[in-house]
């Protein structure tokens, strides 16, 4: 197993890091508005089309490159719909007639996000009350993260044959809600339940990579704060109970880093490996709670203010934890299969 980045991957990382530094705006509480300028810059870099086929306007790269981009966005504390675009793009790529919109997505011309959550329902890959009859849909999707600015949304629905996937252009959202009854929907032929699972695998990896970056910055800021902030006449770094906890944060971070990188390699080899994504979400979910909560605590009061970045990082980690299933749900999925194998084999 090789964890090192190639030279090209390092160049990509540096380019995104530069872009993220340049494009960074001060975070505000609450939902992040879509930033078209930043989005165009990501498109120019090729970031939006990384894992998609060159024939559709993508870069023909792999989830490893997606992970690199998302990590840098997370490090910079930039909240975007990058993971959402990866899910939408993956669904379009799975269909034989999603190519045109996918090309537009890769180029940054169309802002496309998935609509996969149902109100008052825990996360599920399977649509429960969203139904399809031909191209007519019923049901409600809410919330749709970043939906307000979307040129199109991609949603799944249940029909007689199972799960189908649809595109809705120029969706008229009410807040974060899309009432599907009466809207014009176009079926994406060839994209079925397996495509949804695969798209969500990629989206989950993307979010977890972003979380990795956010945790990295949260720890860096915490360490810096401990070095400079004084209490009782001495720097906080003199309080061993704080520095030992920073060491635990570092440990969580490094274990999460290994897992994110491994999951990216794994999806590159097998985009349908759901068990690895379950484990990834558990490891990152636990690390995100640990690091996010401790980063605030070790900062003290300033950690919960909107003027200081660390609370926003924790807010983002919290949102990521609750996207596409939280730690509990992924644990439950793993628990249901835990008797099927002897041990998790990472190198086999």
């Amino acid at each position: 197993m090789i964890f090192a980045f190639t030279d090209e991957q390092e160049s990509l990382r540096d380019a995104v890091r530069e872009l993220a530094t340049r494009g960074r705006t001060e975070p505000v509480p609450g939902d992040a508005p879509h930033d078209p300028a930043l989005w165009s810059a990501l498109a120019e870099l090729g970031a939006l089309g990384l894992p998609f086929p060159e024939a559709s306007g993508g870069m023909g790269a792999s989830p490893v490159e997606v992970m690199i981009v998302a990590s840098e966005l997370g490090r910079a504390g930039i909240r975007t719909a990058y993971a959402e675009a990866m899910v939408a793009g993956s669904l379009l790529a799975a269909s034989r007639d999603g190519g045109e919109l996918l090309g537009s997505l890769c180029a940054g011309d169309s802002f496309v996000v998935p609509a996969l959550y149902e109100p008052n329902r825990a996360w599920s890959l399977e649509p429960a009350s969203v139904m399809a009859d031909g191209d007519r849909l019923t049901g409600v999707r809410e919330p749709i993260p970043c939906g307000a600015a979307a040129d199109a949304v991609v949603t799944s629905a249940r029909d007689a044959d199972g799960v189908a996937v649809f595109v809705i252009e120029s969706p008229a959202l009410c807040g974060a809600r899309l009432d599907l009854a009466g809207v014009a929907a176009r079926r994406l032929k060839g994209a079925e339940a397996a495509a949804v699972a695969r798209a969500v695998n990629l989206g989950t990896l993307t979010l977890c990579a972003e979380a990795l970056g956010a945790m990295d910055t949260a720890l860096t800021m915490t360490v810096e704060y401990l070095k400079t902030r004084k209490q009782f006449g001495v720097p906080l770094a003199r309080f061993q109970t704080l520095t030992q906890r920073a060491a635990d944060m570092y440990t969580s971070l490094e274990l999460a880093r290994s897992t994110v990188q491994f999951a990216a390699m794994t999806l590159a080899a097998d985009p349908d490996d759901a068990a690895t994504i379950d484990r990834l979400k558990v490891v990152v979910g636990k690390a995100g709670r640990h690091i996010g909560q401790e980063a605030i605590q070790l900062h003290g009061g300033i950690g919960v203010t909107a003027e200081y970045a660390v609370g926003h990082l924790t807010a983002r980690l919290t949102a990521i934890e609750h996207s596409y299933g939280d730690t509990r749900q992924h644990l439950a999925a793993l628990a249901a299969r835990v008797g099927d194998y002897e041990a998790v084999d990472l190198i086999g």
């Binding site: 509480p29 109100p119 809410e142 003290g300 909107a306 609370g311 924790t314 509990r328």
Partner: protein
């Protein structure tokens, strides 16, 4: 040892339940239930209704409106208040400056301040923390220099909760910079927030709300008769103030209400073929939190029962420490119940995602403060280690 509630206390409990569920406006209680932000008027109205019924300041001396309740009765009052989603009387008035004035203020000061403090005709805020004096309160720098019949106050306070609504502030100020120890040479002043030279700057918190403030003092003139008690004894009064509350130091009633709400919410979120409340891992986590809360609540009852006349007891540190932990655990549970519904904070109030769910993430993030303010959990552990266990380091 006796588990049963006496007939009198059972009667008291029924009365409190009746009062809170019928006398406090439903719209205020509904806001509390979904975690929405309360307005100044909401707080004031709830406080005043309690005051009209003689319930706003039960812990004060009887002559100033107190009730001489037992600790158990105080506990029941708080418990039923929280159970009905009723906001508590303003703590700065009822639990902080009121008892201090009653204990240490001159007769003139008592007569001037206690009645409007109880009735909320004066809205108080607290001026203790400073940018360079958070957990290390004794290093505060705001100065008060005697100038004839006045003090001249200069400096800055921060984390002043609801300061934007306040009429008056009780502030710790340094009156003797040459004192041998930093805790000495500190006094407590009562300051009119409309005094020239005071500027309030709201601080936005991570949830988007404005509940704390910076308060700047630029040559603010404070009449000397607004000095509480004796000069340079402010540290003692602050310790009294902070140690005064034991029954309420862990917000057990609030947590219990939230946990019950969480169960009710979980039963409304579909999961698989049932609801989240049927999910074995979710149900076990809720059951575990109920165990944690029970142990905490019993400890409040047990420690309060050992109370000895308002003297600060280091045991209250375990209530503060554990109270904030369980409180935060329950709010984390609530976000987890909301799940993907917590991901978008804004939304239409008539949306299919209910309001409570949209508030879960900001409320969870906001309450990370609970283990920081009022003496951080690290400070509480330090108190336990040194004052109880004798580990002086």
């Amino acid at each position: 040892m006796e588990r049963e509630l006496s007939a009198d206390d059972a009667q008291f409990r029924a009365e409190m339940r009746e009062f809170f569920t019928t006398k406090i406006p439903q719209d205020i209680r509904d806001k509390v239930a979904v975690g929405a932000e309360l307005t100044k008027e909401d707080f004031a109205q709830a406080h005043r209704i309690q005051h009209e019924h003689g319930l706003a300041v039960p812990g004060w001396p009887v002559e100033w409106g107190g009730k001489e309740w037992s600790d158990l009765q105080r506990y029941i009052w708080l418990d039923e208040m929280a159970a009905a989603h009723v906001p508590a009387p303003l703590a700065f008035n009822a639990n902080m400056i009121g008892p201090v004035i009653a204990a240490f203020g001159s007769q003139e000061m008592k007569e001037r301040f206690l009645a409007p403090t109880a009735s909320l005709d004066i809205w108080w805020c607290q001026g203790f923390s400073e940018p360079e004096a958070g957990s290390d309160l004794a290093s505060l720098r705001t100065t008060a220099v005697r100038d004839g019949d006045e003090f001249l106050v200069n400096g800055q306070k921060t984390w002043t909760t609801l300061g934007q609504y306040a009429d008056w502030i009780f502030a710790l100020v340094r009156t003797d910079p040459a004192a041998a120890k930093p805790q000495q040479g500190i006094s407590m002043l009562l300051i009119d927030m409309t005094s020239p030279g005071i500027t309030v700057r709201p601080i936005q918190l991570i949830d988007g709300g404005y509940e704390v403030n910076e308060v700047f003092f630029d040559n603010v003139r404070v009449p000397a008769d607004q000095l509480v008690g004796e000069e340079n004894r402010g540290w003692d009064y602050a310790k009294f103030l902070l140690g005064n509350e034991r029954v309420g130091v862990a917000p057990v009633g609030w947590i219990k209400r939230k946990l019950a709400d969480a169960k009710a919410r979980a039963a409304t979120v579909a999961s698989g073929s049932g609801t989240l409340l049927d999910d074995p891992l979710m149900a076990a986590r809720i059951a575990e939190l109920e165990c944690d809360l029970m142990a905490l609540e019993l400890t409040v009852l047990r420690v309060a029962a050992n109370s000895h006349g308002g003297k600060p007891d280091p045991a209250s540190s375990i209530l503060k420490l554990r109270g904030s932990q369980v409180q935060q655990d329950v709010l984390e549970l609530m976000v987890d119940i909301a799940g993907p519904m917590s991901v978008v904070w804004s939304g239409e109030d008539d949306g299919a995602v209910p309001e409570w769910a949209r508030h879960t993430a900001p409320v969870y993030l906001n309450y990370r403060k609970a283990s920081i303010y009022g003496g951080s959990n690290e400070v509480q552990r330090g108190v336990i280690a040194s004052a109880i266990l004798g580990l002086k380091g």
